[in-house]
Symmetry: C2
Subunit: 317 residues, 2 copies
């Protein structure tokens, strides 16, 4: 009796998922809605540096915005005139959304400038009030719940990516769809890493937030009063928090940094939001799904925010 022919072994390589595929659904939604509007929303981007990465991002947001039917204007200004230019756009009724291509000064003055953008036009969702609302799970700006609070673009994009990848379990209730999931986020910036850890913890995940100062654990916690996640310092190593991680998200702005492939659990989901490749290509031998870049989803979220702000402005009138 001869043995049955062996079924071919499945390929060990994880699958790469491109941000463009994930963004498509949102891009389609946004462009369909723009077509129904009487007035075309105008997005103004401010560029006040010579950083080629910022230049490229500016060109790219412009192209995407216009291809979806928005109006886009890139305003190049001297860094010393930027504040005045933002204030002018804040008060200009023709302008629906404002974004600034950072870095400008590369220090805390950039955070100051970010807060100069008015709440009503902040498509990036970086105004202090938006961030504070996000941390506290507050969804509206007003008690009548007519003005939605905007979420910061990149953390929101990563949530949408994890939804697409099936990490969010849609059989579970909203707000609990990451229950039981363990996530490692390598980056704790105020723009992406910390908000992201909070968003994922608020959805039920246990999140280990890693940066050079150490590792913190974010969980939903007991903060019912403030609807706030709980944060603790933990004395665990990257290897210890990674070995059981279902999801690893990296955002280290350094070409030299590589997340150690040997720490990645078989079948983990890996997402990189840094403009540098934080995973070595060998990660595909371990992970199930790998998203090497997120930029196109971020821009889709930005334009979604622009649409929302334009609609809220009309409602207010």
């Amino acid at each position: 009796m001869s043995a049955p022919a062996p079924t071919p072994a499945p390929t060990s390589a994880g699958k790469t998922i491109l941000a463009s595929n994930i963004a498509k659904k949102y891009i389609d939604e946004v462009s369909a809605t723009v077509k129904t509007l009487n007035e075309t929303p105008l997005l103004v981007g401010f560029l006040a540096n010579d950083d080629p990465a910022a230049q490229m991002y500016a060109t790219w947001t412009g192209k995407t915005a216009e291809s979806l039917g928005f109006k886009y204007e890139l305003r190049k200004v001297d860094k010393e005139d930027l504040e005045e230019a933002i204030i002018e756009a804040n008060t200009d009724d023709e302008v629906n959304g404002i974004m600034v291509y950072f870095p400008v000064f590369g220090d805390r003055q950039d955070q100051y400038l970010q807060q100069v953008v008015s709440l009503e036009k902040d498509v990036e969702g970086l105004n202090h009030q938006y961030i504070q609302n996000m941390y506290h799970n507050v969804r509206f700006l007003d008690s009548e719940e007519t003005q939605k609070s905007i979420l910061p673009c990149t953390p929101l994009a990563i949530v949408k990516i994890l939804e697409y990848l099936g990490v969010y379990n849609t059989l579970l209730a909203h707000g609990n769809r990451l229950y039981g999931k363990q996530v490692v986020v390598v980056n704790r910036s105020e723009i992406v890493g910390r908000p992201l850890a909070a968003l994922l913890a608020n959805d039920g995940a246990t999140v280990y937030s890693v940066d050079i100062t150490g590792i913190q654990k974010f969980t939903r916690g007991e903060g019912l009063k403030l609807h706030r996640h709980k944060v603790e310092d933990v004395s665990l190593t990257l290897e210890e928090v990674t070995k059981n991680a279902d999801v690893i998200v990296t955002g280290v702005p350094s070409a030299a940094y590589k997340f150690p492939t040997e720490f990645v659990k078989d079948g983990a989901v890996c997402v990189n939001f840094s403009s540098e490749k934080n995973f070595d290509i060998s990660v595909k031998e371990k992970c199930s799904l790998y998203v090497p870049m997120v930029g196109k989803v971020t821009i889709a979220m930005l334009l979604r925010n622009l649409l929302r702000l334009s609609e809220q402005k009309k409602q207010k009138k």
Copy 2:
């Protein structure tokens, strides 16, 4: 004929002026006003670190506040509970002023926390709206001009010190009393150095703002529309901007840093706001007046702000 007896040569040493002497006038004003109030304002200080310098500053503000007739409460909290604790104090009608002893996390999360303190209780004047108003010479929060905008404590303290030292010329009109003066400020932080440079430029001085990234020149400029000073990058050396400087203000948080005495113009006024001694003792052979520390004036300004916020709260009721 015998020669007349020579008049004794004046001593070459500059005079040291203590912050306590400068603060006295403001301390007296504040404590006299507190006595006339029906309710004693309560200042709450939040300490969420083990930094001995912050601990000492906390004790010291407490003692000064109480000696002037205010109520003071030091609340020690875990850094992860700080945000919740600030929000609680924001909504507590008994609390008139809130201050946080930084650093807490030592990164941008500290700036986030700073903005959580409500505008109405921010005795340090560090809310974005206060800082933006200061840069634009906007003196009130409301168009009826009933609610004064608060100025950040340390820059305000240094202005008051320069007034005391006679650098402000009272024969000139308000807003022009530094006309013709050249000032060097070694520090361009968002908390002290940059606001200070702007305040002095708005009063007519030419200010060279120095930090490790280079030197910028602040002047009153033409920004009439926004009542805003003008800033330019300049390619001058520290020696070049210092040799004609009437005033040198230092704030470098490093024990190793010493401002080069040989650059100091004979008769210059030297003020150090760092907790480290940024001037070598030899500076007294060059300068006319020397203020080695400013902390006591800063606290006087803090309590002055507390008084103002308490009064404005009463007016609003």
